[in-house]
Symmetry: C2
Subunit: 240 residues, 2 copies
């Protein structure tokens, strides 16, 4: 579906420089704010407020919000406006369940269909990721943004040999929601657990075209993220 545009996006939603539509810019900014937790779950998205904040027209805001419905990042009901999608542990578990199902399938198909192009994408992404992960061993906070981007790239590369658009589309929506949960719950913005060796193992299995193994490792990888969130929720206060 639509790509994440982190950071370097200009501050000007009317940015004609970008070639993009104003709606698309507002859409991207809203999405970014929701994924980062700047806009809290279930908080109301008042059109007038957003309109003046972004300096655009109300119908532009509404259209951007409507498009976010596609990603399930906002909800709307009857005559009472838009809200940021709620979060819950149950919801996160559902997301993880779906990710296990879809990522496993996508990786398997990638291994079955992937050509040389695909393979080199995976190698390149794995390399880029491992470099930043090595740097992070020293807890360089500044690299966390890099890590998130490269982690995404790596996982995108893994499934990019799969040619089922629907699968990739659904998968990406779920991935985005996962990111939101991690960012919201892990307030410190660190890299979760020891993910490095897991990535390495997945990488090796995929390149060796061991489908069963790759599938299993992928599922485990996702399952562990649930454990992390559960621990976090259990050990901490619940949002106001």
């Amino acid at each position: 579906m639509t790509l994440i545009q982190n950071g370097q996006n200009s501050d000007d939603p009317t940015g004609k420089a970008s070639g993009k539509t104003i709606i698309e810019n507002v859409f991207a900014r809203l999405r970014s704010e929701i994924l980062n937790g700047v806009l809290a779950p279930e908080s109301r998205l008042r059109v007038e407020e957003l309109r003046s904040r972004f300096g655009v027209a109300s119908s532009t805001v509404r259209e951007a919000l409507s498009r976010l419905l596609a990603d399930n990042l906002v909800t709307t009901e009857g005559q009472r406006g838009f809200k940021v999608a709620p979060v819950s542990l149950a919801d996160f578990r559902e997301i993880a369940t779906m990710r296990m199902l879809l990522e496993a399938k996508a990786v398997r198909e990638s291994i079955a269909n992937g050509d040389d192009e695909w393979e080199s994408r995976v190698v390149a992404a794995a390399h880029r990721l491992s470099k930043v992960e090595a740097a992070l061993a020293g807890n360089e906070w500044s690299a966390v943004n890099d890590w998130e981007a490269r982690n995404r790239e790596f996982h995108n590369a893994l499934v990019s040999g799969c040619d089922n658009r629907w699968l990739l589309n659904f998968r990406e929506i779920l991935y985005n929601h996962s990111v939101r949960y991690l960012r919201i719950s892990l307030t410190e913005r660190t890299i979760p657990r020891d993910v490095r060796s897991e990535h390495q193992a997945i990488f090796e299995a995929v390149i060796a075209r061991k489908a069963d193994l790759a599938e299993r490792l992928t599922i485990d990888h996702i399952a562990k993220s649930v454990t992390v969130i559960e621990a976090r929720v259990a050990g901490l206060k619940v949002a106001s």
Copy 2:
């Protein structure tokens, strides 16, 4: 996600009677027209044209169209408006593949979790469906609409014991696309093949809580729809 509102929808998109928003009415009508093939795949959706046809404002149309993006029933690109989602045999195969994956999973979960409520929903839906299917044995054309609605109800009931919202949401999107393909390609609007015994078999397996069998039958059921479409595309006429 959103439900299909076939037929009985008033002709007045400004229908305040319905309690619904104008946007929602336009959304529903557009969706219906797309699913029925009234709006052909890849045809342009000119805002001005739709605006005057429905007697509403342009931004209202735009917002309705934006919401259809969520269902992948329309596409939009940069500065060149909206189009009805394209169709292709490859796309239909991808949809079928995903449906096999998701419906199988959903049925399995329903069988695992479904309570008495669920079971009786299934029984009721199966009964209603079988009645109309019996009537159709005599080729009563008038009942085709009924059949489509009850077929949907039956399949909805089967998975309604599953409590994973994401799974059900994705599943419904895919189901709608399947319907579109069938309606577009089967110009005569008949019931495809001998579907009655398949439904019966699925029903029995589900009620007997035979998860493996139910899953297999579900997958076969979907696989056969691919055969039907393929035959149709190949130019062959499939038995009515």
